[in-house]
Amino acid sequence: MRQLFESTVQRIFGDIVTPASLLARKAGEWPTQLWAAIEESGFSVAPAPESLGGSDASWNDLYVVVRAAGRYTVPAPLPEALLANWLLGRSGLDAISGPLSFAAANTLVFADGKVTGQLQEVPWGRHVAQVVAVVAGTGDLPSQIVVLNVKDATLANLRLNMADEPRDDLRFNAAQPLAFAALPSDLPADILLLGGAMLRSAQIAGALQAALEMTSRYATERSQFGRPIANFQAIQHRLAILAEHTANAMVASEAAFAESGDQLALLPLMAAKVCASEAASIAADTVHAIHGAIGITHEHALHLVTQRLWSWRSEFGSQTFWAQRIGREVCANGAHRFWPAITSAKLEAENNPVQKTTPSGELS
């Protein structure tokens, strides 16, 4: 399945998402043709069960799709739609094949069948038709998954990330959800933040592959002082370090996807976002230093990659955010549980089942 996925997305992206087409786009523009191709392929609904309109794809299968979305700098919320449809599927709601996104943070209140409040920093919020969010439970009330119609929203605080991808706030006032269901009890209320971090770690891994390839090629083609700059030891060392961090981010993000199933693999995905975000910083610095002036021109494709690396490293929790969350938990558990956490890829659940107070696999 995974190999078929990889070759299929590479074909779609390779045909439609060319550097020339990307450079010609207007800031924040919706990719009509690309989204049509995505819908036709069925990728965006793949993680939902067949009974709900999907194809039961696992996170392990989908890893290559999300990574390729990063590698080809795909200007569309395909990764977002995958997570949203996975969550809909887990909650027994129908998959959605139209333009779809989610909000990792919101101030929603859901009462009397109506939703009021704000969705924050919704990827492509101004363009998508529907948005998935989790309304946090209060007291005895469980958290609820809601599907909201963007037509019911007021757009607020519109902005773009550095790669010109829309990140918009949406305000709802007593809007009726298109669908809703209780959040499965084995999922934490911040599942969309966690899932968003996992998506971005894989997108970063893909963008790192692209950055490494572009820059290795450039270094062998560009000459200074009478020889290819690839001959300079300083260039070789910097690219070697970039390769190491690319490998690190690839393996870390793949581990997060591969270990995720009905639940997400929390410690692996947090670690993946930490490592991928750090690698993104190193990569952007390295590839711009090696490309020199040509790399900061609009007409060169390098910034398509680096602007995404700079943006994605901060989205859905920075390196600091997730590292602090891991670090607080590690310290609270004490040194004797550090190594068991590494080998089990779980901070608490397996290693100390007795003291567990949060839902299985959840990290407070």
């Binding site: 800031a27 924040g28 920093e121 605080n157 519109l158 902005r159 773009l160 990330n161 550095m162 010109d164 990140r167 000459s223 200074q224 002082f225 009478g226 300079f232 300083a234 910083s281 952007a284 610095d285 711009h288 230093a289 020199g292 002036a293 790399g295 900061i296 021109t297 609009h298 007409e299 910034h303 680096t306 602007q307 700079w310 943006s311 490293r313 901060s314 989205e315 929790g317 920075s318 390196q319 600091t320 955010f321």
Partner: protein, 386 residues
């Protein structure tokens, strides 16, 4: 060891007195600038601001009074310049002319050239750009191909310059070009046979094409010369000595406060965004930035003292530039790890926008004034390693 060139030097009190005047001028002129505008600092282009500065005698401070300068010495100039940069004032229009071109004309120009070019520079009305890089030359300046050929008393200029900052807004370019045979590829003659010309950019045969950069700005340009006819007095300094003339000025270009203050607008925005009670991580990084900015300023002042004493601090200036660039580039990298604010363009908070602007500008900091490889090579040579 050249390291002993670094000795602490205070700004003399008479120079430091200027600071209060500059601050009150800035309060009047730029206090209302939005943070994103301040972040552009010495890339901000505003001729009316330059003229206001000139009226106060703050352009040409290192130029003798007979040419319109105020000749108050390098430390006084330092005080004015660092205050402007710290406030994010739009100094780009006169910047190159004041820092570099006027110095070159003063040192290498004829009396006629000085009288013609320097007064309008000091009035903040004449702007210069520097024509060095060319396609495929990059750090390897000795490989340039643009050529001026003698035609009687005149010269005919053909070729192309690239990455020329502000060419589209400038009146003149001081261009480094080949004037003798040889194509620059023979090792023995790589730095020979080059000369400098002051090129009036309104001359026929010149085409200037701005280059859009990754944030959508147009600072860089391509400049094409197609049989441009230069009069004899366009040559500045000695024919064939262009390379030496260029390198003599590099210490000025590599040691000023612009070499460690490019990200100061983000430091200001960051402090405001963090608020008065930072956590342990925020406190450490902001304190570290403060300490390094202070000590880089002291390094920079140490070089200024060497310049003022007539020494050649080329080695020390390279240290300032490379370490200063490190700090300037580190600041946005540190900042994005201190607050959960996603950087944004076309909307978002001041902090988010200044952060996005400086993250994307930072790569250019190590392109200006010599790449890190060039600088580190110079430093290594001074250490006796090559």
């Amino acid at each position: 060891m050249p390291i002993n060139q670094f000795q602490y030097s205070r700004i003399p009190p008479e120079a430091d007195k200027l600071r209060a005047d500059v601050r009150s001028f800035l309060k009047e002129t730029v206090a209302d600038y939005p943070p994103l505008m301040r972040a552009q600092s010495w890339m901000g282009f505003d001729p009316s601001f330059s003229r206001k500065m000139a009226q106060r005698g703050w352009i040409g401070m290192a130029i003798p009074t007979q040419y319109g300068g105020s000749d108050v010495g390098p430390f006084a100039r330092y005080v004015v310049v660092e205050e402007l940069l710290a406030a994010g004032a739009p100094v780009s229009a006169h910047w190159i002319a004041d820092r570099q071109s006027a110095q070159q004309i003063l040192h290498f120009g004829t009396e006629e050239q000085k009288q013609f070019y320097l007064p309008p520079i000091c009035r903040g009305e004449s702007y210069f750009c520097i024509g060095m890089s060319e396609p495929n030359s990059g750090s390897d300046l000795a490989s340039i191909k643009t050529r001026a050929v003698r035609d009687g008393e005149r010269w005919v200029l053909n070729g192309q310059k690239l990455w020329t900052t502000n060419a589209q807004h400038s009146h003149y370019m001081i261009a480094l070009v080949r004037t003798s045979q040889g194509d620059g590829d023979k090792k023995s003659s790589r730095h020979e046979g080059m000369s400098q010309f002051i090129v009036d950019l309104r001359l026929p045969g010149i085409t200037i094409r701005p280059i859009r950069d990754l944030v959508g700005s147009e600072h860089f340009n391509e400049v094409f010369f197609d049989d441009v006819v230069l009069e004899a007095d366009a040559l500045i300094g000695a024919e064939g000595k262009g390379w030496d003339q260029c390198t003599a000025e590099l210490a000025f270009e590599r040691s000023g406060p612009e070499r460690f203050l490019s990200s100061i607008a983000l430091v200001h925005a960051l402090i405001d965004a963090v608020g008065p009670t930072p956590d342990a991580l925020q406190a450490r990084e902001i304190g570290r930035i403060t300490a390094r900015m202070m000590s880089l300023r002291n390094m920079s002042l140490s070089v200024t003292a060497q310049l003022a004493a007539g020494e050649n601090p080329a080695w020390a200036a390279s240290c300032v530039k490379d370490l200063g660039t490190t700090l300037e580039q580190e600041i946005p990298e540190l900042a994005h790890l201190l607050l959960e604010t996603v950087p944004s363009v076309d909307g978002g908070s001041d902090y988010a926008q200044v952060l996005a602007y400086l993250i994307q500008s930072a790569p250019s900091f190590s392109l200006r004034g010599g790449t890190r490889e060039i600088l580190r090579g110079i430093i290594a040579r001074g250490l006796g390693l090559r």
